[in-house]
Symmetry: C2
Subunit: 349 residues, 2 copies
């Protein structure tokens, strides 16, 4: 999926009508899971989870609020919209199985544009083994609104909540952080340059890593598998959508604990570090408040330390404490700073 796609022919939405449009958009849907008894085409989808627990998550994504079509290709948008919801299911230690997509669009969009969006959804579903089982396609007066619901399953004794962290548990994070936020800054800089002089070509070269982190994130199914194979069931888990600080606070608040996290242990990619220097941003701030990395943040009992040590791409960044000790970042120069949930929206202003 390249960022620049050729503009296909234009078919107006009114040429197909609601049922015709749904037929066209859902023509190539394949079913991956035996749990999908009935997908699109009845009053409701029908699923058979055979005594497993059911997980359900929903996200709304609005044009101009959650995405900017000036630099977000529709195929990438579809892919990301699906993947960020899969991420929520993995964060429960579950497996996503079905997706329901609802979109509201104005007639500014062509059938081909919606097909691009659906292609992105479909690529994500095929990659993660998820079935598209329903949806609703309606018109809006302005803008593009997306509602995605993902349903997944979990073993009864394996589901992981946010509220199970205990003092002395180790705090772990997968992958690296801050990249998606730096990707957003690059895209916004180029948009601004383009708006002030449309003849200028975007300078995106060399920033592939952070751009992919922002435009085409992945959900950490591999991490869930690895933990399973290593015999580790986290005591708590959450996916990092709003930034490390905000997610740490969620776990501590729901578990009734504090935490101590070491700035020096927060994993940050070299490409992210370079851009932080260019944009004059402290790298740990990008990681703590940047958001949209969709890595997994989880806690494990200290007794699992040996099991986790050998696992690639997992960083132990601190430990859970009693609530009375507070929720703190220990900086590189050994200062204690209370964690604050700023979120990336706040950072941008």
């Amino acid at each position: 999926m390249g960022i620049h796609e050729q503009n296909p022919g234009r078919t107006e939405l009114s040429e197909l009508g609601e049922f015709g449009l749904i037929d066209r958009l859902t023509a190539n849907i394949e079913i991956h899971n035996s749990s999908t008894l009935k997908g699109i085409g009845d009053d409701a989808a029908v699923l058979d989870y055979d005594n497993k627990l059911i997980l359900v998550t929903q996200d709304l994504l609005n044009e101009g609020v959650h995405f900017d079509l000036a630099y977000t290709p529709l195929k990438h948008l579809g892919y990301k919209a699906a993947v960020v919801n899969f991420s929520d299911i993995y964060a429960m230690n579950g497996q996503p199985r079905q997706l329901i997509i609802g979109i509201s669009v104005s007639n500014r969009f062509s059938v081909e544009a919606l097909e691009e969006f659906y292609n992105g959804l479909k690529i994500a579903c095929d990659k993660y083994g998820v079935d598209m089982v329903g949806g609703d396609t309606t018109s809006s007066r302005t803008g593009f609104f997306i509602s995605i619901t993902v349903i997944g399953e979990a073993e009864r004794d394996k589901v992981v909540y946010r509220n199970g962290a205990k003092p002395n548990d180790l705090i772990c994070v997968s992958g690296d952080l801050g990249g998606a936020y730096m990707g957003l800054l690059v895209l916004e800089r180029e948009k601004k340059a383009f708006l002030s002089n449309p003849a200028v070509q975007p300078e995106l070269e060399g920033n592939d890593y952070v751009l992919e982190r922002q435009l085409k994130p992945e959900a950490r199914r591999d991490v869930i598998r690895m933990l399973h194979d290593a015999g580790i069931v986290p005591s708590s888990m959450i996916d990092i959508s709003d930034g490390l600080a905000s997610e740490l606070l969620h776990i501590c608040q729901q578990s009734g604990t504090g935490c101590a996290v070491y700035e020096e242990k927060i994993p940050i990619d070299p490409a992210t570090l370079l851009l932080c220097e260019e944009f004059k941003i402290i790298p740990s701030v990008a990681a703590l408040n940047g958001g949209e990395d969709y890595e997994l943040l989880f806690t494990i009992p200290l007794s699992d330390y040996e099991k986790i040590q050998g696992l690639p791409g997992i960083s132990v960044i601190g430990h859970i404490t009693e609530a009375s000790e507070g929720k703190n970042l220990i900086t590189n120069d050994r200062k204690l700073i209370p964690l604050q949930a700023q979120g990336w929206n706040h950072m941008r202003s």
Copy 2:
């Protein structure tokens, strides 16, 4: 729930922030079902259906397309948005258990306005025994967008699809039809009168029945119970959201059959008949194409005729035929007219 409510104080959305708003809107949520293990507050809701089948349905409702706030109180809107999704679950011969609500609103709306909407949702959930287990509250640049997902359960051998109708099956419908559409016409007439002269008071008196059909419809849980108690499992079923004609065509198309429906047998309330006269609309046209009645349309084997005969509020309106015989309405003057799916949007123009 009266149509005219006092305007409560105004709190701006920005005063609470996203998490504060969600806390306030979801403060009074009660859990009715043992299947709801985890509701709001984690990456996903967690449900335990103990080996039953899972039903999932989703609807999008957009301001200016699906509802008009000029005559739709927000509490009624919340109630209706929930109920029309419960109706989809009953139409599968299932029971709704959980609801996930997503709303996108501009800052034109106050916190109190959203509380009214949530109150309507909550009243519907309490009445139908459904748990609100999650949601997403985001900002939009303009307008009010609603996404509702309802999850329900069905016994493995009792789920009813649209595709099981067989030739000679009886076609049955619950309640009466056309009322919701006439209610809409009354509301639109009064809106027009108000816009041309704001001093005129709305003439809604005496139209309680059709207004309630439009603004505060109910889902036919009672019919599902009655069929169950009578030992009837329909061969096919659908709820009437787009008008009787459109739903009959869905059942026939998916079952590979035709149908013969008798105009004289279509149940229409006296209040609806009176308004049809006033608006110069043929009553059966309002029933066939009007939509939004949320009654149940179902087929049963001829052998269940005696069982259905004694049931209150169920009308047998025709029978399923071979596909080759077509999908026909037999008019009061014994003419055969092929059924057409016009839908109520078409009728309005």
